[in-house]
């Protein structure tokens, strides 16, 4: 691991093809199970070209994870309508966020970062910063604003945000992470998100 910045955008078309192919393979099969031959073959380039662009397997892997982290930053959730109740405001956001977590790409990303976190600690940190931590910070601010409006009682908005997100990452997410059972459809996702928001509001909602 050479740990360079590597934040530059993919220059040539071949480089983009390599990044796309490698992302697909690493995220679906994990770091160890993917060979550089497989990446080159899928990208339609030779191995030498691959090594010309990215010096080694671990640097290619780092570039993939960094790129996926940048994508995650773009996925900022939307807040609900201003005048609604706490439940009505949170539910669309919750559905959207749980749906994002349960995408194959998000699950694969989470799996590979969990698996290789000990060998690539800086990548695990980058993932956390751009994914869970960014979401947590955004939600903390939003909850604090709602608390100021009197819609909920949250003396510690960061803790409330943690617990809200934890409620969303419940059994359904655990099973999906383990790859057990069928992938939940939209209705199941909405139902699970609604259950989480309902419980959150019962715990934190301002008593009317």
């Amino acid at each position: 691991m050479s740990a360079s910045a590597e934040t530059a955008a993919p220059a040539s078309a071949k480089a983009r093809a390599i990044l796309e192919a490698a992302a697909e393979l690493f995220i679906t099969q994990g770091y160890g199970a993917v060979s550089m031959d497989a990446v080159a073959k899928r990208a339609g380039v030779s191995k030498a070209t691959l090594y010309a662009h990215f010096g080694a397997k671990d640097r290619l892997f780092a570039a993939i994870i960094q790129g996926a982290c940048l994508e995650m930053r773009g996925e900022t959730p939307e807040m609900g309508p201003a005048g609604a109740s706490l439940y009505d405001a949170m539910l669309p956001m919750a559905i959207r966020w749980l749906g994002f977590l349960l995408r194959e790409r998000s699950l694969g990303m989470f799996r590979v970062v969990v698996a290789e976190g000990s060998r690539f600690p800086e990548l695990a940190r980058a993932f956390h910063e751009n994914g869970p931590r960014a979401t947590r910070q955004w939600l903390t601010g939003w909850l604090a604003a709602q608390a100021a409006r009197g819609l909920l009682q949250a003396p510690d908005p960061a803790l409330a945000a943690d617990q809200c997100l934890a409620l969303l990452r419940s059994e359904m997410f655990l099973q999906a992470t383990l790859g057990i059972g069928p992938m939940p459809d939209e209705a199941a996702i909405a139902a699970s998100a609604a259950a989480a928001v309902r419980t959150f509001c019962r715990a934190y909602g301002a008593v009317g």
Copy 2:
């Protein structure tokens, strides 16, 4: 993967040494990063002996995960004192369970099963059955009993159990899973568990 039963107890001393060494290596480094040479060396046996006991790397891995699942079955939580309040009854259980999740061995087990779940689906299922699912079932029954005693309002005890466990698997568990930051000490674990139980009781506690 030959998918045999392999539930038998480790017979000889060498077999036990192999299992112990392999468990340590697989759980700390992951499946792909561990070579059979490394296992043999750590166990103090030759590779041929290793292959004589377990026919292949994937079968050795399966035996390790199965064994760890059996261990997990032994870790049944204890319920709190009968006459106490809901919070007082749940808190010791919550601390104990979160402490178990945050052990290096539990975290490593979770990481490797998440990482290899797609290649060893039956192992992911066994892990889930003996770990999360067993805990969930136990807690569901306990919560139903408390609901019958009027200590909480839970029309769907299984959902309540899910959410209780999800609240415990919050930011602290996520960070530990990713290997980020220092390992939480006992006080931090107790505080996180207390926050989870407090929120759970606010959402589900019988209004007195």
